[in-house]
Subunit: 451 residues, 2 copies
């Protein structure tokens, strides 16, 4: 029995193995297709390591550094990250921390050596105490959120170098030479890594952050542009791209990636359209507001699955302003995404938000009238909720527009492409009303526009 099972396992192994390998190959292939920069990054890391290996291959170089050349290889491997910001951040952290810890370590050793005046037991005890206190202190400081975000790697390297210098100096006597060699090789390794990263197809975390924030807003826009037609069933089935609409779900959990990219972007020098002191943290703020909006949209999405429970004639009573609001807010978001992406002021978005606010006022007036007298409140409930959530979405998008406006001011966005704004102005906002409902003359009082 056991033998038969083993035999079966053994017979199945090759086919399972091949299936697994095939699966992994497919995944690897997809990774490269999704973002070809990943392939380039792998080649860049290889190139940097090949370059740094010359420390070993060329005898004159090896003779001057000896086994310290190892530190150059280690540095290249550890520092090479995907984006310029991450590589620079790690490189600078490693460089400064190594230098500082080296100097402090040597200083500590000489003081201990002076105090213990040749007594090796006392020397080792004193060194032990100093190392204990320094490590405990720096390890504890690593818990500070601000330190963790930007200098965690530096603090780790500091502990590492400080301990190594202190304990090595106890045994090695040419410690100054060793330290000098190491610092030099680490600097060379870091430099090679940073240069390869910046000079060959650089991946800027700043650009990635900008694209992420802009794409996230576009995903929300895709949902809203489709929502009205989907909820009120005004478009033929099959014409709506449902998977495009569901893209907003990735926005809900994008905080961590945004925070990381912001941290990396802050290490990057001026590049492309991003100057010195570019307001990276404003992108974080915009990202948070996008998520606020995404939570509302998630609530709206819940109604897409239940909407058949409300008769179509009831839904149709507020169809017009709701569809228009959803389209206009979608357009506003799309313009915001373009504005962030192209770095132009969000003028077009403001136009759309003003239009959607007019529809919001219309919607409120319609709800205020006794349009519903003959209907069952239980059936009306979900429709009113959808309307109310849409009003809420308008509110949160208004905040988003303000925030992008702030970014535009801080980063001095310029209106290079007037055509976008002009093209947009053509769509004149027109007060609308449900054809079956009563007509209202609408006076828009700004404070009253959106609840």
């Amino acid at each position: 029995m056991v033998i038969t099972k083993c035999w079966q396992c053994l017979m199945n192994f090759p086919s399972e193995f091949i299936a697994n390998v095939n699966n992994v190959m497919l995944q690897l292939n997809k990774l490269g297709k999704d973002d070809p920069r990943r392939v380039i990054h792998s080649l860049k890391v290889s190139l940097a390591i090949t370059l740094v290996s010359t420390f070993y291959y060329f005898k004159p170089l090896y003779d001057s550094f000896g086994s310290s050349a190892m530190w150059a290889v280690i540095t290249v491997i550890v520092v090479s990250e995907f984006s310029v910001g991450a590589t620079l951040g790690k490189g600078l952290n490693r460089g400064f921390a190594t230098f500082l810890a080296g100097v402090l370590g040597l200083g500590s050793y000489y003081i201990v050596h002076l105090i213990s005046s040749g007594n090796t037991i006392m020397e080792s005890i004193l060194l032990g105490i100093i190392i204990f206190l320094a490590t405990a202190g720096v390890t504890y400081i690593r818990f500070l959120p601000k330190m963790k975000a930007r200098y965690d790697y530096g603090l780790l390297v500091f502990i590492l170098t400080y301990c190594l210098v202190c304990v090595s100096s106890f045994r090695e006597h040419e410690i100054i030479d060793t330290a000098q060699d190491r610092v030099t090789t680490i600097l060379v390794g870091g430099l090679i890594s940073v240069l390869v990263n910046i000079l060959l197809c650089p991946v800027w975390a700043g650009c990635d952050l900008q694209n992420l924030v802009s794409n996230n807003i576009e995903k929300l826009s895709n949902f809203l542009e489709g929502f009205g037609d989907e909820y009120f069933g005004t478009l033929e089935a099959g014409k709506l791209n449902k998977s495009l609409m569901q893209g907003y779900k990735s926005v809900l959990n994008s905080k961590q990636v945004e925070d990381n990219l912001t941290n990396f972007a802050r290490w990057e020098p001026c590049h492309g359209r991003f100057g010195y002191h570019h307001p990276w943290q404003q992108y974080q703020k915009i990202g948070n507001l996008s998520r606020q909006c995404a939570y509302r949209i998630d609530a709206l999405n819940g109604f897409l699955n239940n909407f058949t429970k409300t008769p179509k004639e009831i839904r149709s009573k507020i169809q017009e302003p709701c569809i228009q609001m959803s389209i206009e807010t979608g357009k506003a978001l799309k313009q915001l995404a373009i504005s962030i992406h192209k770095m132009i002021p969000p003028i077009a978005a403001k136009t759309h938000i003003t239009t959607s606010k007019i529809y919001a006022t219309n919607l409120k007036s319609m709800i205020k009238t006794k349009l519903w007298e003959d209907t069952n409140l239980f059936e009306v409930g979900p429709v009113v909720t959808v309307a109310s959530l849409l009003l809420d979405v308008v509110c949160s998008i208004e905040k988003l527009v303000e925030s992008v406006q702030e970014l535009s001011t801080l980063a001095k966005f310029k209106n290079k492409e007037n055509n976008i704004a002009v093209e947009d102005q053509k769509e004149v906002p027109q007060p609308c009303c449900n054809s079956s409902g009563p007509q209202h003359v609408i006076t828009i009082v700004p404070e009253d526009i959106v609840q």
Copy 2:
């Protein structure tokens, strides 16, 4: 002018410096108070480093390992993480990767040495090509999400060791001895680090995950328990703990921490109440459902700031079932939190969810009646929305209960503390109705309970 400014800056410097130092000290103090395990962790790392330093302090130990002792120190510093799971994960990754890369590196070197038969230029070219290909391949594999989550550090160490062994073997001739010393010291370093981490006040990622998921559910519960009274204004101002209610906001962005803890927990051996193959991924699932619920709660929270716009008499029409639903769902969540925390089946939670479903049916019946005939739909709208969101919350909590039930089955929770369930049974669910509204006889049809 410039001199005056400089002088002012110089004069202000000490006071600013002292203020900054004070600020940092306050933050450090708070860190320790919030979680005293941080202080203990810092001391544990220090202890591990002091232990590993003996490689340098004791001559016999230093004589046998020489400068390879450095690798023990490096390993301890790099591997020592806060939780047992993270430390074990890093330690095992480092250990296996070093061993595998060492063996493969030596193998590659000997094959190259054999092929090039003494021609050093050809040898260096062949080694360069091998290193290039290996690095590019492994760096690319690091992008695979599954690999990144669990084996990222191992892959990094693999590249590092493989490159070091390959290039070192080109120059050093006692490479086998060096490799042996390094592997031994790395193993010793890893072992010291893991032992100190496990034996002295261990921090289990599994426990942290359990507490996080349970606390998050409790935060949602705090909101719901307070929501009814806050929205309908049935409690005196000052009696509600608003900051406690707003605690749910941290749940919205807890995904990353949960995912990390799950990854760490999977490295941990059996400990306390957690057996081998504990279903850690079920906690992730519960976490995701909690966040779904938190999004709805965030939408409800929006109405707390606007509720004064709806007259109290309108709100009071559905006050009774809404308050009861919000309290019962809150209690259900509290019981779920207790169930996860104490590892007992979620029986009590089921009772509360059944009660809240009865109130949900009541609420629906009340909305169905023409209770609102004389009212303005615009004023009723928000109230209906709140009711509908509450019904939605009941739905999502039901899913949460099922998921915790699944966890209870998978992890074989046992009902050790019957008193909780019994105490809970006392609260008999009673069909309720708004005193001002008509009385209904309610027949509960399971499929119809919650929309």
